[in-house]
Amino acid sequence: MKILVPIKRVIDANIRVRVKSDSSGVETANVKMAMNPFCEIAVEEALRIKEAGHAKEVIVVTVGGSQCQETLRTALAMGADRAILVETDVAVQPLAIAKLLKGVVEKESPELVILGKQAIDYDNSQTGQMLSALLGWGQATFASELDLKDGSIDVTREVDGGLETISLKLPAIVTTDLRLNEPRYVKLPNIMKAKKKPLNVFSTDDLGVDVTPTLTTLKVEEPAERSAGIKVADVSELVDKLHNEAKVI
């Protein structure tokens, strides 16, 4: 089978983001970008399924500007077979992304689509669920373990109360949680090889999707600052403060 892995380019998880002084957004100029960590887990899982002999091809796809080719090349260097860029300068929102991905799914006919459970920029956690709805497929969000069966997949999900396992008919959508796997490091020779792997570019018009946003960001501000308090000398002072000053115990 084929596995499609939609990925996203975001500000590197180790960078402390700064709000722009004009409140229009966060500073992205000259900031280190990287593949969203949950997307790396998605790519890794697809590769492991292929390496276990259960998939023939892993295709990665992203939606964004031409610089997103770099992120796709990273996924190719990890081991994905080919890449698709749906190129646009619009900051496309999750529903329109899901519609574009639906177009890609219709062209490629994968049996499994694996996405990150959320991107660490807007923390939406929407795209996988929306794509499932549009395709009429089953969804397993926040996955920590996959077990492929004949015509179905069992997925263990990290839910608020613990773990839950559900079974989905294939084709299906899975979104990855942190503990599904630990993504591999990219090796230098593979970076060279990745440059020769196919990368196709489509426009949003090719896929016939209107990507006009419906959610307008009016302003972006710093969160309320929390100031550091005091240091206490020992446990008895701590308990005294909590009991008599803060009155929380």
Binding site: I11, R16, V17, V19, V26, Q93, P94, L95, A98, K117, Y122, D123, S125, T127, Q129, M130, S132, A133, L134, G136, G138, T141, F142, D154, R157, E158, V159, D160, G161, G162, L163, E164, T165, I166, S167, L168, L178, T214, L215, T216, T217, L218, K219, V220, E221, E222, P223, R226, A228, I230, K231, V232, D234, V235, L238, V239, H243, A246, V248, I249
Partner: protein, 313 residues
């Protein structure tokens, strides 16, 4: 405005996060209907009808809703959405799982994790792990969204007298089925609604050591949380994780023990009223957000804390 809230429940009671979501709903309008979908959940429907501010309850009771699979619940919500202007659920794993699916079926965007309601179409939500707050305005005809429960008060469990209507059940799409669950059993309060939380991090070094938190937690009546590092290392189960990608909490008292304070962890707890940090590294970033910091070895602090709590109790 006509607001539909999708309740999370255990067949008998409505979960606390849904009570916070109902408060957000009452800020949008006076007509607040609650959907209680499940199997043998009429007690939960009755409980929903008595919540202050609720004006109607839709009760969908069928075996196919027992495990609240998104594939079953989303079409049900769409079928009863009617003239709803807003559809809300809490930003729990339950709400995050179903809300985007509902939005896509309705061909509208979804708005995640709303922390304030400004007007019926304008909301504030955290982005970048809470390092920025975005004010967003939606032009969609129906606003479909999840609510960050820590920033809204809980609606009162009594005072309402809504009527309950039974909802016609649709045929199951048959896309998914429940296999099993392994829920963490605990007598302690639920993490997202606890008044006191004590959390442990990498500093514990092992699962056995992590259990040192139990005694103090029990004396405080606290829930136990964990940093991602502690969960990844296997010291604590996944549902203990507090942070950007885990649970968002805001208790009256949050005690962070052996947690350095990565941005992703702070994102999950920095709205707590009082924060205590215990860490032997005085440079740990957790001290930058703590009201009371104690630079000390947690293995000395926890037994002392346990003894000191006996004295004040």
């Amino acid at each position: 405005m006509s607001i539909l809230v999708i309740a999370e429940h255990d067949n008998n009671d409505i979960k606390p996060a849904t009570l916070n979501t109902i408060t957000a709903a009452t800020q949008l309008g006076d007509d607040v209907r609650v959907l209680v979908a499940g199997h043998n959940c009429s007690a939960a429907a009755t409980a929903a009808a008595s919540i202050a501010g609720v004006t109607g309850v839709s009760h969908a009771d069928n075996a196919q809703f027992e495990h609240v699979l998104a594939e079953e619940i989303a079409p049900l919500v769409v079928s009863i959405a009617g003239d709803s202007t807003h559809i809300l659920a809490s930003a729990s794993t339950f709400g995050k799982n179903i809300i985007p699916r509902i939005a896509a079926l309705l061909d509208v965007g979804a708005i995640s994790d709303i922390s304030s309601v400004i007007s019926d179409d304008t909301f504030i939500r955290p982005i970048y792990a809470g390092n920025a707050m975005a004010t967003v305005q939606s032009s969609d005809p129906i606003k479909v969204m999840t609510i960050r429960s820590t920033t809204f008060d809980a609606a009162a469990n009594e005072g309402g007298s809504a009527s309950i209507e039974n909802v016609e059940v649709l045929a199951s799409p048959g896309l998914s089925s429940f296999v099993r669950q392994e829920l963490t059993k605990s007598e302690r309060p639920e993490l997202t609604s606890a008044k006191i939380i004590i959390s442990g991090g990498r500093g514990f070094g092992s699962e056995e050591n992590f259990a040192l938190l139990d005694e103090v937690a029990d004396k405080l009546g606290a829930a136990i949380g964990a940093s991602r590092a502690a969960v990844d290392a296997g010291y604590a189960p996944n549902d203990y994780q507090v942070g950007q990608t885990g649970k968002i909490v805001a208790p009256d008292l949050y005690i962070a023990v052996g947690i350095s304070g990565a941005i992703q962890h702070l994102a999950g707890m920095k709205d707590s009223k009082v924060i205590v940090a215990v860490n032997k590294d005085e440079e740990a970033p957790i001290f930058e957000v703590s009201d009371y910091g104690l630079v000390a070895d947690l293995f000395q602090v926890l037994p002392e804390l346990s003894a000191a709590l006996d004295e004040i109790n």
